[in-house]
Each structure stands twice: as C-alpha cells, then as structure tokens.
Symmetry: C2
Subunit: 213 residues, 2 copies
C-alpha cells in the first residue's frame, strides 16, 4: 500500500510538472506574441488554455482517486491536498498568460506595447518564464534553495511592475488613456502570475520535502 | 459514523457562511469607504482581511481533520473537497475587497472615484454585495435557483465593468492617466470578486445538493 501511494505521489508530481511546463510555455509565447504583434501565436495561447484547464481537472480527479482509494492519513493526506493547491495556482497562471495574449489581440495589428515599455515587459515575461521553470525543476529535482529564489524573483517582478507604472504615469506618456489602461492591466497580469508562482513554489517545497519553507 | 460526518458537514457549512459574510461585509465597507473617502473604514477593511485569511486556514484545517478522521469515500469525499474550493474563493473575495479599500487609501484625502463614475462603482459594489449574500443564503437554505442567479449577477457585473471602461476611455475623461489606471484596476477587482462568487456559488450547489448546477 505504501509503495503504491509513493507511486501515486510520483504520478501526481509528473502531472504537475506537465502543467507547470504548459503554463510556462503559455507566458513565454504570450509575451512573444505581445511584443511582436503576432496574432496567430496569441490565439494559440488562448486556445491552449482550454487544455490547461482540462489537465487541471484531470489532476484534481487523480488526487481525488488517490484519497478515495488509498485513504492516506496525517502527513500523507496533507501532501496530497497540497498538490491540489499547486495545481490550482498553475491553472490560474495559464489563465493569466491567456489574458496577456488577449491584450495582443485587442490591439492587433497595432503593437499593444509602446516602445518605451518594450524592455520592461520583456523582462517581466522573462521573470515569469523563469519562475514557472523553477517550479517545474523543483518538482523534478527537489531543491529548497531554488524554491526560495521564487520569493526574490517575485520582488524583481514587483520592481518591474512599479517601473512599468512609473513610465505610464510619467508626464511623458503619449499613448493616451486607453494605452495606459491596457498597460496597467498587463502589469497586473504578470504580477499575479508571479504571485501564483510563489504560492505554488511554497506548496511544492512542502509537497516534495514534507516541510514548510 | 455517518451521523458524525453529517454533523461535520454542517459545521463546515457554518464556517463557510461566516467566511462569506466576512467577505460580503468587506466589499460593502470597502465600497462605502471608497465613495466617501473614509480612510478609517478603508484601513479597517484591510486589517480585517488578516482575519479572513486566518479563518480560511482554519476551515482548511477543519476539512483536513474530517478527511483524516472520517476517511469519507466517493461522493462524501467529493463533498468535503468541494468545501475547499468554496473557502478558497471566499478568501480571495476578501483579498479583492482589501484591494478596493487600498484604492481609497492611495488617493486619500482626495476622492478616488470621480463624480461621473460614482454611480457605476456604487452599482458594482451593490452587485458584489448581493452576490456574496446569495452564497451565504444558499449555504443556509439550499436553493438552486438562487445559486443560478449568480450567473446573471455576473453578467450584470460585466456590463457595469464595460460601462466603467467606456467612461474612462471616452474623450470626455478629465482625470488623467493616473485616474484612468486606478479606475481600470478598480473595475477589475470588482469583476474578479464576481467571478469568484460565481465559482463559489457553483461549488455551493454541489456541496449542498450533491449535484452540479
């Protein structure tokens, strides 16, 4: 029974890695679509989110089956329930990547991001990409230090978000109210993506080591 | 054992009602603070969110204990796990109410909401308030019709959100880029509050009736 349960946890971990990779691919492609006004890629990110949602429900069902069939107790039960949190955060990261892609589509064929924000948005995309990558790697190769890095990445994201807003709110902004609103919401999508990544990372540490970060 | 489990479900339901009521009070007070530039009330909403977070964790622990001690199977297990979703949505509604309150504080002593948006923001607050109230009532007095109304309320919220953005983006907007950014984010907080309320409502129907909406 114990061996079976360990195998279940490994299976769940594998599914979480897949989900993390999908949410990572989503934010990377969404950022690329946004910066290059690439509507085809943006649409494919939006479409791919349905798959992420379906895979999330599949993981939920898997977790449900493990609890129902194995009836884990105490710390084992806590581990399995933690996987639910991780899956929920990863699913939400996929949604936010789709929102980024929709920002591209709303402005297409015009570029959604004005030149003075290209660099900061590119960096936000990169930080988001790396954060999702770390979640995936910590699931595969437990490393508490790497998970702890997610908090610092989140600080970097917050700094970038502040920088984005300061550019939008500077007296030099020439892209009107609509451009400002779009960029403020875009900044929030990346910031929320990072928040969910930090949450997922914390839960992953517990899931992998059985100890809180 | 069965009777004990039924009592556990009732206890959890009672805790969820409390959480729904707290998140409802939070959005009602946050909206009032916002519209009357009432910093004391806004600060109390932000402070009260810590209690909502703590109560959310308490419900999680309660659910965990029920699963660990009663080892419910099949549909019973599914019911208990559904309560986790409801609690998570309600907790997030509390966060969003705190964000609304912070919008008031960021502009204080200036009013955060310009006169031409007062009505739409007031209506958004009212819809949000009613949605949270319905969740609480459906938990207390199972009523699938009332839960189904949450979808229509969400449509009303989406309409209000569009109205808010159309006012912000109209040529008549005189409150600058910063005012526009603040109001766009504010609109998103209410819209997300409503999204979480709809999710919570769907799960409540399952939790109460064992059947999906």
């Amino acid at each position: 029974m114990r061996a079976k349960f360990q195998q279940d946890l490994l299976d769940i971990s594998g599914l979480l890695v897949e989900l993390a990779d999908q949410s990572r691919t989503a934010i990377r492609r969404a950022t690329g679509a946004l910066l290059h006004s690439d509507a085809d890629t943006a649409r494919s990110v939006v479409d791919a989110d349905d798959q992420i949602d379906a895979d999330y429900r599949r993981i939920e069902e898997r977790i449900f089956d493990v609890i129902a069939l194995q009836a884990p107790v105490a710390s084992d039960l806590r581990l399995v329930l933690t996987a639910l949190h991780i899956a929920a955060d990863l699913e939400r990261m996929g949604d936010l990547a789709a929102h980024v892609a929709k920002t591209c589509l709303r402005r297409y064929p015009e570029p959604a991001v004005p030149p003075e924000l290209t660099e900061v948005v590119q960096e936000m995309g990169q930080v988001a990409d790396e954060m999702a990558g770390k979640i995936s790697r910590v699931l595969t190769t437990p490393n508490v230090d790497r998970a702890a890095q997610l908090e610092r990445d989140d600080d970097a994201m917050d700094d970038l978000h502040r920088k984005l807003l300061s550019i939008v709110l500077s007296g030099d902004w020439t892209h009107g109210v609509e451009g400002a609103v779009d960029m403020a919401l875009l900044g929030r999508y990346y910031e929320r993506y990072a928040d969910h990544a930090v949450n997922a990372g914390r839960h992953v540490v517990y899931f992998i080591t059985g100890e809180s970060l």
